[in-house]
Structure formats: structure tokens, C-alpha cells
Symmetry: C2
């Protein structure tokens, strides 16, 4: 069935059911960002494969609301699908709800599948549309009836991570979560989000590509922990560990019945951003619902000393692979044999030789020339550029090591460097430096770091359409919450131990893209009469190419930071390199 | 009755009524910041006279939650009151609710007077405390029974502002608000906030000190506008204008009955931050409530060209008075006859000679030496310092002119300048400059400007405990929303025409305080492939003293800004000065 036919089939069903608008969010019952194939509903319906977006369909209009990272890609992929791109003004904002409020007739009926929407999104839809007289139905699945040969749920095996790696036992984590439940006076707590679950029970798996999570739910009480998971998924070691921690294993589908059976008068803690509307709606009337961030979500974000030490080590290994890669690239680009796809494979192969490597942490973005201007570009056979000794190459990549997750972007020139390229590169680099240098008080939010990083870029009347940084897991998802460095009003303080990317960029459509990304860990520094001050430790270890720097854009404090960073890279990585690579890296990291 | 006796009386009443905790917010039925005496409940109960705070009382504890601007003042004023200062971590955050959640026994009853709490605050209290099993009663007034000789409501006269001043007629404003009501599909809209009401109907009054507002409510439908106001308040000219605009005048107290009589099936637009819980709770069941920012609040914030032109002119007049003041101060400080109070009077007298002057816009803060370290200090007879030729003097003041509202802070040295004073002064100045120089994209929020302004101050491990800036009215309140420049997650975009202060500071308890404050108006500049860019026009016109500048803290771009600013001040103000003042200002504004 072509996309345009699927749309027609949906509209027919909508008419039959009396639905004026149907919303298809990009999510699953775990409110995942990266989805198992079974839940890739937007891609199946419209052809758009980006990781963020929402479809809204009426009889007159079918739109994909997505953000500027995906404008070019969406325009291509939506051709002849019947869907039109609607450009989000604010990344991740539910702007389609305002559109529905303004464009539907009085007393319209709006529907969605509550398994694909968080409670928060469902509340936003209801709170906006119901007061103006619309009917909202969150229990309508129009896809299952028309989706032939829908992929089944993944059944990949899962395993345990030892305390030597995680720094905290499952028993301790259960006790910590119960302590937060007690503070909130709740006797039940449902964990739906897969990375929270993996952290909470010290388990990992391969149910979602690049994300080492395990499909499941946990229901926690002061006395019990139920883990709902497909039978046979856990290996014996993991089963033994969970049994020791007094976790009861139940079938994945049992979660619905157990939620519906929570007794009246009980109080349950759920996270409205990380619980789907369908499960929320199963909670019996008479059960008090306390909405709050999953305690495990914040605990997971605050890396402990064991996790930080492992991560620092993983960064050295990752840096070795990256050094080998960039040297190899430099030496082979003139052959004319390298393509965007082949270099991504090469980089993955080099990472795979490093200790503890399990997978890449997301699809490598190797964007040459104008492809670099697509922030989430992934080379495919029909787009795959061959590299030549000219133009800029952007490589955004990362690894999943059993001792940490990496995510790094570097830009290099393959030759014939232009002044515009140098200017853009240096302006982005200045942003990366000012973000990395930031000193701030306890209580500072990610939106403040976003502004500090953008300030000098904005001053040149340039900007980038994506956030400045995202939380990064410890051998977990490359995007994790609750904190984020972007312009949205995300009211989460930056706390010691949080790992975040700093990755400003500049994208000139049809020309080139630049992004310079490091991971940093927040830490306390001085406390004085003006408050508790914090700053960032830069974790990522890979030289920043100085041959593209236009020094007139920089103050001495920027140059000092750059030289100190490159010196640190050499100092930490060179002991693991052979002489030839050492000499090459020495040259790349020499002070300017 | 002493404060400690009032507290005892309240606790007795609480026991009688079965109330475990009683909350007294700082507000009134209009959710005002500055209160008529009748509603100064916190001051009457506890003795604390600051403009922001909340009392929460149990049988075991009585606390005032307020922010760092008021810590020193609160500690003094609460002595022997029975109340203890609880220091807010985040300015304006309802942290007392978390305290109640954690400190009361199970199933506790918490009460407050819904006339003193916004719907938003009431919802925060209910949404936090009810799910954990507490009872919340928002209809308990424990103050009226024990408050003897409570001041009555103000009955000051009110008058109209002509369209030549406001730039927009009442008829147009009514049409604009109705258009927003239509977009939100609402047939009723209640305006409770006094500055919104004054803007909406082009009226001004003197019901609240320094704030030219008029006590009243408006209820708007597509066909009618009711103004609820004390009989006899409006002069004939204002009455005529409102009659022409088809506004019906009703008694102030009629609003409750009219709200209770809204028919079932209707939809009403109310602003949860700007409507009191008591009025909200009168809305009949069966009326749909649409919660959204008052349309008038945002419209008011976006100054039109007429208002901006008047404001620029008012700034010249204000700058003349300030120039006269600082010259007089410099020449008379050695006499030993000047005090914090006498110079505040002198400044008010100079402003009063300027055209269109109506009042000061807030109590002048003249803080000498360590008094400067109290950001909201007001000199009283028993604290009033005499000025000497030494130390720093901070003067934060403003005027209400019929053509605009001003608010400015300057710091000068009276002699024996120290290196610490110069460093602190220059570091604050750098913040003021970097905030004023900010270039940013459309959609930027105030919290981003806050971070840009603090960045270089944070870099020295210094900070200030208040926001970076607040919205300022057009001949209206010196603090207005919806936008604000501070670290809180206030999700309001900065739009062209918004006037805001930029006022970083540094406060060394027992030593000195520094704050350098200008008002700025946001405006669009270039639009290019990276977006719509904006910056600020600095409106305030008063020289910035360069004799305190330690140049080594500044880059050339900061010095260039400072010289250009001082040159502009001279250029615009000097034509209105006599030769002697011209010469003096010429010297003060010469380039460094």
C-alpha cells in the first residue's frame, strides 16, 4: 500500500467513526524516542523517518509537524504521500494542537491512540481542545486495522550489568526509589520508560537499535517490585540477580491487569512525560495519582563516581578510534575510493576494536559538503557522496561501550578551504568554547547554558535550529532526560554528575554544515558568599582541528581553552597510540 | 495587638476550625504586586513589609517564605513576631507547599483565603497536597475576625488618557480583545488585574501608591463590556469616553453576582495567574473555563509607536532631572547635610519639575555604603545614613510621567574609591553592557537574556540574587508582565515593543551594593537565512560614571558601547540643560 493509499484508508475509517481529526504521535507505550519497528507508525503512514514529529489528519489536510533539523528530509520523504510538512516554530512544541483548535469546526471530535501518547501530551490535547467544546477520544487505534504484516515486538535477550560497572546495586536503587515514593506519600510507582527501567534494575538489552534497553515495565511498592517483560528475555545471571533483589518477574502484558487492580484509596506516583495515556487511564477511580518526574530518571542522570571514572576511560578508547579514523581519512581521501557510507563503516570498525564496545550509539552522520547542512543526515545508497580533496566533512558519531556512551561531532576540511568556511567554523567553535567555559550557580537551568553558548553566534546574526545539548546516558540512551540544553522552558536544574553534550552548529543549505560537539559533566567548584558555583569537565577526547580557525574571531581566552583542550587530548590518548599515530596527533594538537 | 498576639489569635482560630496549616499570600482579589493598605495582610500579621512573600502557619511553626532581596530586612522585621524567615531557593517559587507536604501529618487540612490567591497558586496548592491525602479549603478568611480597624478600600478618583497619548482608542482595544476571545472560542472574559484593566479602558487613577491603576474588574462579551468600579470614582470625561465605547459601569461588588450568573454552556476565558481563586470558584459548573494569558496583558506589553515615542521623550526629561540631581549631590556631599532620605526627596522634587510628572514609580532606594547591599532598601528615620565624601551610593528610582514610566539605577563613588569597589562596579557594568548588546532570534525567552547578562559575572564567581530585569509599563506599573528577564522557566517570547529593565548587581553585606540599570525596548533588526534577529534599544538616558571603571575587566567592544552610550546621553539631554549643567555632563560623558 502506498502512503497516499494509507492516508485514504485512514480518512475512510475516520469518517466511519465520526472522527474529524486523528493524531499520530511518534512514540510507544514506553514514550520512547527511538522506536521498535512495531511502533514506527509515522514512517509507515507517511514515509517520514525522522526521530521527531507528529501527524495530524483531517479530511481536508494531512500534516507532519516537525522541527528544522528535518525540513529538507521531510520535504523529500513526504513527496506524493498526501502529507505536507508543517514547520515547527519551537522544537518539540505541540503546535498541531493550536492548529486543530483554530481550524476544526465547532464541537469537532479529535482522536488518538493512548498507547502512543504520553499522559502529558494527552493532557495538553484535552486541556486545549475540551474547554473550547471539542470531544477528545484517546482510545482510538486506526492503524492496526489497516497495517498488514505489522512487525512484531522485539524479543532480543537481556543481561545484567555488575555493580563494579554501575556503581550502585539494584537493591540500593530500589531502596532509593522507595525513599522518594515515601516522600511523595505514594504506595505505588509505575516505571514505563525503558532507560529508567534499565538503570533501575541494572539490566541491558538490544530491543531498540543503538539503545541498550529492554522492553518492560516495573511496578514498585514499599514491599514488592514487579518486572513485566517477555518470557525468556533475561539470561540466567540477570534472573538470579533480580531474584536476589526480590524482584518478581511477570509477563509483559500483565501490567495492564495489575494497574487496573490497584485498590481504591491507594496513591500512585507516575511521570506524566514518561507514562502513556492508555496505562494512566487504566488506573481505577478512587486511586490518587501523584504526577511527578520518575525518581529513577533524575537519579540516572546524576552519574556516580564509578560511572564517571568508567566514562572517562571509555572516552580515551573512543578517542583512539577517532584518531585512527581521522588519520586514515586524511591519508586516503585522495584515492577517490571513500564515500560517506564507507567512512561510517570504517569508523564503526575502528570503534569495534576498542574494549567493551557493544554497538554504535546512533546512526553515524557523515555529511560531506551540502549534506553536512542536514543535521540528522544519514547517507543512503542513492545519496552517498564520494569524498574528494575539497570541501567540509561533518562526522557526528558515537559508541555504546559497556563502560559508557559517547557522542562526538567534528568537522574537517578536505581541501580548498574558503574564508566563509573558516568564519563559520570559528564562530561555531567559539560557541562550543564559551559553553564549555561556562561558570554558573547551583540552580542554573539548561536553557541558560543554551543562551550562553549561542550568545557569540547570535552576535554575528547566525544561529542553529536545534538545541545546544542533550543528556547522555551511561551505557544507555544517547539522548536522556530530565535535563536538556535548549531554549525550551525545561525547569530542571543542572546538577553535579549530569553528562550533557555541547554542540552548537551552523548550516548553509546547499553548501556545508558545521557542528562541534563534546560531552561534558557538570561539577561543583567554589562556594562563596555569592553562592555555590559550578562548571563543566569536558569528557570527550578528540583533537579539534585548528587549521580551520580564523583567529580574528577569538579572544585570547578562547585560544587558551583550545590549546589546553588539544594538549589534554594528546596527553590522555597518546599513551594508547603507536608512534606513527602519536606523531600525527602531536601535529594536530599543537598550540596555535 | 502585637504580632506575636496576632499569631496566637490565628492559631486559636485554626484550632477551632480544624485547620492544620493556614497560608497567607501577598496579594489581593486583583492579584496585585503592590497592595492597597486594606490588603497588606502579611505586614499586618507579621510586620514584614517587603513586596514579595508568603506566610504559612501551623501550631508548631510560623514562617515567612521570601527571596534573597529581603533576607536582611525580614530578619530585622520579624524579630519577636513569632515568625521565622524561610529563605527561598528560587525567587517567587511556592516552596512553602513542598514544606507543608513534607511536614504536616497525614490527612492534614490546609486553608487559605481565595481572595488573596491566584487560581494558579490555588491549583499548585491543591495539585500538590490533595493527591497526597490532604484537605485543601480555599474559602477561609481568618484575618477579618481579628483585624480591628482594618483600612477600607481606596476611593481615589480616576481619569481618562487620550488616544494621542495611548496610541490606541478604547474601542480598538475592545475589538482586539474580542478578536482573541473569538480565537479561543470564548463568549466571556474576566479582567481582574488592575494594570490590564487600566490599559484596556485607557483609564488611570491613584488607588495604589506609585501605580496609576484603578480598582475594578471588567467582564467582556462579544456584545458588552461591564466595568465594575466604586461609584463616583470616574470623572465626567472618563465616563463620557467609556459611554462612547459602550462600556457599562456597574458597582465594584456586582462582579461576583454577574460571574455566578454566567449561563451553563458558556465558555469563559480567564488568566490563572491574574484571577483570584475566590472569583474563579464562583463560575457555575457547566461553564467551560479556558485558562490563558489575558490578551490585554500581552497587548499592553507590546508598546506601540506612539507609546515608544512618548517614552523616549519622557526619558529625556527624566535624564534632565537625574543630571541635575547628581551634579547637586556631587557639589553638596561635603556639607555633611545630606542624608539618604533628604536626597530621595531632592530627586523627587527635581522630577516633579519635569513636564507630565505625576508621581514616583516606586519608593526611591538611596542606599549608602552597606545599605546599598539591601536591594530593596528604603531609608527610614531610624536607619537614615548621613552622606560623607567616601564610599559608594546606590540610587534606584523612577518617575510616573503621563507619557511614560521610568526606572533607573546608578552607583557613584562619594570618595576614597577602593579596588574592590572598582572591580565589583566594572563586573556589574560588563553584565549591563553584555545584556544591552545582546543580539537574539525571534522566540528567545527572557531566561536566555538573563543568562547572557550573568555570564561574565558568573565567570568571576560573583552573582546577584534577583532577576536581571522586569517588564515596565507605559505610565503604568513599574513591574509588569507577561515577560521577565530572570532564571525562572517563564515561557514568554521577547517581542518587539516590550520594555524591560536590565539591572545586574552585586551585593557585599556590610560593605556596598552595586546595580546598574537601564530600560530597553526590544526590536527587530535583520532577517536572514538563519532567522529573524532582534536586539535592544536602550531607552534610559543618564550618564554611567566612568570614574569607577577598572578597564582591565573590559574588552574593547565593552568600552566602545560605554563611550557610545554616554555620548548619546549628552547629545539628547544637553539641549535641555543650562550651560553649567552642560559643561558638567560633558565631562561626565567623555570617552574613556
Amino acid at each position: 500500500m502506498k502512503h497516499i493509499e494509507k492516508l485514504a484508508a485512514l480518512r475512510l475509517l475516520m469518517k466511519k467513526e465520526g472522527i474529524d481529526a486523528y493524531i499520530i504521535p511518534s512514540s510507544d507505550p514506553h514514550i520512547s524516542e527511538y522506536l521498535p519497528e512495531h511502533y514506527q507508525c509515522i514512517s509507515w503512514t507517511s514515509g517520514f523517518t525522522g526521530s521527531a514529529g507528529t501527524l495530524a489528519i483531517t479530511q481536508d489536510f494531512a500534516g507532519l509537524w516537525t522541527d528544522s533539523r528535518y525540513f529538507v528530509q521531510a520535504n523529500q520523504q513526504l513527496q506524493n504521500s498526501g502529507f505536507e510538512l508543517v514547520k515547527l516554530v519551537v522544537q518539540h512544541a505541540p503546535e498541531y494542537i493550536q492548529w486543530l483548535a483554530q481550524n476544526l469546526k465547532d464541537e469537532a471530535t479529535v482522536a488518538f491512540d493512548g498507547n502512543l501518547a504520553s499522559l502529558l501530551v494527552a493532557q495538553q490535547i484535552k486541556n486545549t481542545l475540551e474547554p473550547i467544546g471539542f470531544k477528545v477520544n484517546g482510545h482510538v487505534d486506526l492503524l492496526t486495522p489497516i497495517w498488514e504484516n505489522r512487525p512484531s515486538l522485539p524479543i532480543a535477550p537481556a543481561y545484567a550489568l555488575p555493580t563494579e560497572v554501575t556503581g550502585k546495586s539494584t537493591e540500593e536503587k530500589i531502596a532509593d526509589v522507595r525513599s522518594e515514593m515515601k516522600k511523595l506519600r505514594t504506595g505505588y510507582h509505575l516505571i514505563s520508560s525503558l532507560d529508567d527501567l534499565a538503570w533501575f534494575l541494572n539490566i541491558r538489552g538490544t530491543d531498540v537499535k543503538c539503545n541498550p534497553v529492554v522492553l518492560g515495565f516495573a511496578l514498585v511498592t514499599p514491599e514488592t517490585v514487579n518486572l513485566y517483560i517477555a518470557p525468556g528475555k533475561l539470561d540466567q545471571n540477570a534472573l538470579d540477580g533480580l531474584t536476589k533483589a526480590q524482584v518478581t518477574i511477570k509477563s509483559y502484558t500483565d501490567v495492564t491487569g495489575d494497574i487496573a487492580a490497584i485498590p481504591t484509596g491507594a496513591r500512585i506516583l507516575i511521570d506524566p512525560k514518561r507514562t502513556c495515556f492508555a496505562l494512566y487511564d487504566l488506573i481505577p477511580e478512587g486511586v490518587q495519582i501523584v504526577e511527578s518526574l520518575n525518581p529513577s530518571n533524575l537519579m540516572k542522570a546524576l552519574k556516580n563516581e564509578v560511572e564517571l571514572a568508567h566514562t572517562r576511560n571509555a572516552m580515551i578508547n573512543d578517542g583512539v578510534a577517532l584518531t585512527q579514523f581521522f588519520k586514515w581519512l586524511e591519508e586516503n581521501v585522495a584515492t577517490g575510493a571513500l564515500t560517506e557510507m564507507s567512512i561510517a563503516d570504517k569508523l564503526q570498525g575502528l570503534r569495534a576494536q576498542q574494549p567493551g564496545f557493544k554497538d554504535i550509539s546512533f546512526d553515524t552522520i557523515a555529511g560531506y559538503k551540502d549534506h553536512g547542512a542536514l543535521p540528522h543526515y544519514k547517507a543512503e545508497p542513492d545519496s552517498n557522496y564520494t569524498l574528494k580533496p575539497e570541501g567540509l566533512l561533518l562526522v557526528d558519531s558515537g559508541g555504546q561501550y559497556i563502560t559508557g556512551t559517547t557522542d562526538i561531532t567534528r568537522v574537517i576540511s578536505l581541501g580548498q578551504l574558503t574564508q566563509e568556511e573558516k568564519d563559520d567554523y570559528t564562530i561555531v567553535l567559539k560557541g562550543t568554547i564559551e559553553g564549555s567555559q561556562a561558570v554558573f550557580t547551583a540552580g542554573t537551568r539548561g536553557y541558560q547554558i543554551d543562551a550562553i553558548t549561542r550568545r557569540s553566534i547570535w552576535a554575528t546574526k547566525r544561529n542553529y535550529g536545534h538545541g545546544t545539548g542533550h543528556g547522555v546516558g551511561f551505557f544507555l540512551n544517547v539522548h536522556e532526560g530530565p535535563h536538556v540544553f535548549n531554549g525550551t522552558a525545561t525547569d530542571i536544574a543542572i546538577l553535579p554528575g549530569m553528562i550533557t553534550s555541547i554542540e552548537p552548529g551552523l548550516y548553509r543549505e546547499g553548501k556545508h554544515g558545521i557542528r562541534i560537539e563534546n560531552l561534558v559533566a557538570a561539577k561543583n567548584i567554589d562556594e562563596n558568599q555569592f553562592g555555590q558555583f559550578m562548571d563543566f569537565e569536558t569528557l570527550t577526547l578528540c583533537y579539534i582541528d585548528t587549521s580551520l580557525v580564523e583567529k580574528s574571531w577569538l579572544h585570547q581566552e578562547h585560544i587558551d581553552w583550545l590549546n589546553a583542550y588539544n594538549a589534554m587530548v594528546y596527553e590522555r590518548i597518546s599513551p594508547k597510540l603507536d608512534q606513527e599515530h602519536q606523531a600525527w596527533l602531536k601535529e594536530k594538537t599543537k598550540a596555535i
